[in-house]
């Protein structure tokens, strides 16, 4: 087993176990912490695939910004006053069975594919920020600028939705 394979298996098992932790833990704060572990292990996979730019963006955007947002919202809400009422056992079992069926169907559909044993070509430097930046600012300038407008509208929308009711009346 090469070092790459050992790292791949370590990161995969870490990601799957912490994803189960996200779903299974009772306290939402623990879910957030497990989700941060998932994001870091996915970033590790990106590094392993030689996609450094996406690895860094994943850490900054997901593990840094989005998870801080989740943590703040959960801390603002003080959910421990009203603990989550668990769902009906039958509904829970139905959800788990449905998810496992999806897993089985997807794996069975893809397992016999002829491309499944093709190996990744990680040696090339496509994932480096130099090449991605060149493409982003040459071919994708318009989508990039539109995404800044999207962010502005999302920000305005969040402020408008999050405002107190009284201020909108007055």
């Amino acid at each position: 087993m090469s070092t790459t394979q050992i790292l791949f298996w370590f990161l995969s098992i870490l990601a799957v176990l912490s994803a189960v932790g996200v779903v299974a833990s009772r306290n939402p704060i623990y879910s957030v912490l497990w989700l941060i572990v998932v994001f870091f292990s996915i970033s590790g996979q990106y590094v392993l695939m030689n996609a450094q730019f996406l690895a860094i963006v994943n850490v900054i955007v997901y593990a840094g910004a989005i998870m801080v947002l989740f943590t703040f919202v959960i801390m603002l809400m003080n959910l421990n006053e009203h603990p989550e009422i668990p769902k009906n056992v039958y509904l829970k079992a139905a959800g788990i069975i449905a998810g496992m069926c999806l897993l089985v169907v997807l794996v069975a559909a893809l397992a016999k594919s002829s491309n499944m044993h093709e190996s990744l070509r990680v040696g090339t430097n496509v994932g480096l920020i130099k090449y991605l930046g060149r493409t982003l600012f040459n071919d994708y300038v318009v989508p990039f600028e539109i995404s800044s407008v999207l962010f502005l509208s999302a920000m305005i929308g969040a402020v408008v939705i999050g405002r107190k009711e009284k201020e909108t009346v007055a």
């Binding site: 996200v22 998932v38 990106y46 730019f53 449905a98 998810g99 990744l120 070509r121 982003l136 995404s147």
Partner: protein
């Protein structure tokens, strides 16, 4: 590394996200499961971009395009999360809970 491992890892993460979205009632945890699903799809896209880097009828440009696409998925997810969390704060302010079953009053 073969592509097989990445495909199965992404499918597993996606299905764990689906199970979480189906079985939990806390709106914030459902959001987190959706983020998990988005990330598994991103992982698969990057793996495919690395696989098709220099295939028979693909060039390095298509591999770069795939990674730019992942970048835009991250952007849209971040914008969506900010609005979604604002909605769940609003929900909490009105019902003192983030249980999604309270939302079924929209039915009538």
């Amino acid at each position: 590394m073969e592509i097989q491992g990445y495909v199965i890892l992404s499918i597993t993460l996606f299905c764990i996200g689906v199970v979480g979205a189906l079985t939990r009632r806390n709106a914030i945890i459902i959001f987190m499961c959706i983020e998990l699903m988005l990330n598994s799809v991103n992982l698969l896209l990057v793996a495919f971009s690395k696989m098709h880097m220099m295939g028979a009828n693909a060039s390095a440009a298509s591999a770069i395009d795939a990674q730019i696409f992942v970048f835009f998925i991250m952007i849209v997810a971040a914008a969506g999360v900010s609005v979604g969390l604002a909605i769940s704060v609003m929900l909490y302010r009105n019902t003192r809970s983030v249980d999604v079953n309270f939302l079924n009053r929209l039915k009538n």
